[in-house]
Subunit: 276 residues, 4 copies
């Protein structure tokens, strides 16, 4: 990971997941609001989507795990070098552990939607766990580095911790589910764009000179840059929400113009009870 | 912002918003309690009030954003001075970012009450976001300053963070709404008066000598002064609550003396269900 | 407060309040469970008790406030000594501010039970506020003191903060009210006994030599001593709960042996609705 | 405790408790779901199980308390050595205090299920208390030790604090009870395995050389090792859950094949009301 590519890959991973989760949840929410007879099959559909999601997460995590082990300079699954009496490539093992927990998340995702006795909330718990572990590892990741390096990783730690806390809260909060989903998606998206920013700061891709690590002004700039990333993530997620809601509404209205209004309230109550 | 006026302006902004929010919420609450036929139009009225509030917040934020950029010594929208290879006026950009997030709050306020598919709780989320971002920026704002300067900004950070947490809690808590509103309003008011206090401490307006930055006694005094500001904010908000409740009660009783008692309980139940 | 007596007086105050609150709440809870026709007047009775409690808290706070100002070496309401250009007796003003917030709590207590438009939850909010302010002041209280002195005040800060958080939680939590009351009472009692301990450590009353401020072993001992104080508080509150419940049960059973069982369940439901 | 055995014993204690609590709670949950006429006696059965659990916890705590006092070098209930004017064996007293709070937990467990007026939630409160006290003591336990020693104890502090917070949350959260139980059990199990790890790191049992206390690489390794322990605990608890659910389902289905499906939904509703 000590390269521009090593930050761009997980960054892209989180941007994709953030966009995907927001779209999926908003779609689910909008469908539920305007539920129709033709959408009776939607439960089975969403179940199949969840399982595919699990498989994709596992594939992404496997790619990351193998990449960390077998790229040039990777530890190739040796943990301790007995000849030189030292640990081999612990930072790679750190990243490997993070990917592993996301792999667990994917596995739980699949298990929860195939084994009926498992509660669906387990997925949320595992997402929150994966984020907490990621936050914990980033917190212990920067021993003995330079000031700017530590600062950008602390900000990364902050956004991951917030995402983990929001994911954990989703287990218990029953009101304003869509607002919390919007918040979580924007935080995951934010994390992805910040990974890119960290790559640009620490390993300038065009080969230009690295940023001055000890300059206070750089820290002052990055702290507002962090806020701008968040603003952009929020706006993107918000626009996504408005777009998805508008799409579902107009497409449904066009196909079945008369019944939507009538069925709306009855179905919503029914669905919200199902959810409990 | 590095002047007395630069602290007095946001201070006044928060004092006005604190007083306004408390009055609006107490009015809403009291009207709901003593709801009458003639108040059927109140929902539309409150909607119009919310939109006006959004416009006022946007105007305030725009004033702040332009003021930070174009007053003497402002960065005039240049972020990096390539000639001298340094960032231009980052503290101004910090303040600009804070105002920007309050601008987002105003925009959300308008959108939520015009676009019907947006949940009203989004406003609360954006208020909490704006306050969290403000707290984050103040936390990273005082690198390399003197002890007293850091201390008064830490206290500012504390009150903003508490306000942000209370605003975030309002998303989820359904009980004692009025108590939480009272707490949030008093914290916003408190923040405003503390901005004035910071102005007086760091840039004495009458041109007297500045406070000794390294004196421990000054810190000891400011920590109790902080508590007194809070006591005053609490008492003002409390008196405001009693006054608004009394006003609605007496004015309604004078106009429609007989029906208030009868309709009270029925309407309250109806309203509280609507709110859910 | 810089004396043994100065710690013993607030300590006694909190011990009395802790015992009183636990007894009152357990009594209320037990009466509600075994409610009887003869207890119809209990609502008015509890209201009168609350008002008396408010008056007693105000008297205690006034005693403390006047004591801090007028005992030998007190500031006598002068804040700044212009002759010597220094603040007068800021530690006394610190304590004065703490007592002042408890005075506000007493005032709110009276107002909430006399002015009908005020929500009863305001008392809980003010209790939480008074404890938060106390915690904040103790946090800023020990600039430039010795290690052991700072440590015992940090522990005091910890217990006050926990009590404040529990009091704040009581605003929102509707389940297991009695368990939370038990926890809050034991924390207040704990705070009182710890005040006495601090007095014994810093100002040994028998005139013996003070504790060695720099000895690590003393800190190690005080950290377990702190836990023992908590264990004692918990056990006392628990025994109090069992005793009050047993008392109400047996006394009621002796007087009206037949009806208790019949009315129990009906009344409980009714009461719990009232409480909402 | 300053030995390998001194860490292996409490480690084993927590591993046993973690496995036991998870199995008990999953069994309770599964029985409730597939409740049958023949299981009417299960309430009395679970009560007897709880009381036995309390007795076992008390016995474990007593063993620990006596072991700390009377093994070679123990304080034998003398707190202060007046001859040498110093505290005797404070670390032993620290451990003694932790065991004492778990003893209180056992006592509360028994009391809650024998004295009917005590609320059952008291057990949860005492569990949370015992864990908070343990966390507090470990936080104050490592004054003046080496870097690696402090680090492994900080991680221990982290996992205990998380377990305490989850136990405290269980008092208030009514949704996803089984997910929270799974989380708490896995954290207790995690704490147990980490105790063993600490023993291996600080007191290598095979007499090999101790780990280098000042090596940064060791800290980097232990922080991921910590995550692996957590992953293992999670997987074990998850497998336990699936196994118990499967066992109850198949055994019940084999004995009463027809009625399970019919009674399932009715009983679940009934039970969940009982639980409230």
């Amino acid at each position: 990971m000590g390269s521009f590519r090593g930050h761009a890959i997980p960054g892209t991973f989180f941007i994709v997941m953030g966009m995907w989760w927001s779209t999926k949840n908003f779609l689910k929410y909008a469908c539920r609001k305007h539920k129709r007879a033709s959408y009776v099959g939607s439960k089975a559909l969403f179940q199949r989507i969840e399982i595919s999601e699990g498989i994709i997460i596992i594939l992404m995590a496997l790619t990351g795990m193998l990449g960390e082990q077998f790229t040039t300079g990777g530890p190739r699954f040796t943990l301790y070098d007995y000849k030189e009496s030292r640990w081999t490539q612990l930072t790679s093992w750190h990243h490997w552990t993070m990917y592993f927990f996301f792999g667990l998340l994917g596995t739980t995702n699949i298990l929860c939607y195939t084994v009926s006795s498992l509660p669906a909330s387990l997925t949320k718990l595992m997402l929150s766990n994966a984020l907490f572990v990621e936050a914990f590892i980033f917190y212990n990741h920067t021993h003995g580095r330079e000031m700017l390096d530590i600062f950008v990783h602390q900000l990364l730690f902050l956004v991951i911790l917030l995402a983990a806390v929001v994911a954990f809260m989703q287990l218990f909060v029953r009101t304003h589910i869509v607002t919390l989903d919007l918040l979580l998606s924007s935080l995951v998206l934010f994390q992805g764009t910040w990974f890119w920013q960290v790559g640009f700061v620490l390993y300038p891709p065009r080969g230009g000179p690295a940023w001055n690590q000890m300059e206070h002004e750089n820290i002052m700039f990055l702290s507002i840059c962090f806020c701008w990333h968040y603003a952009v993530s929020l706006v993107i997620t918000g626009v996504d929400y408005i777009f998805v809601t508008w799409l579902v509404k107009t497409r449904l209205k066009r196909i079945f113009p008369s019944e939507v209004g009538l069925l709306k309230h009855v179905d919503r109550d029914q669905e919200s009870e199902e959810e409990m």
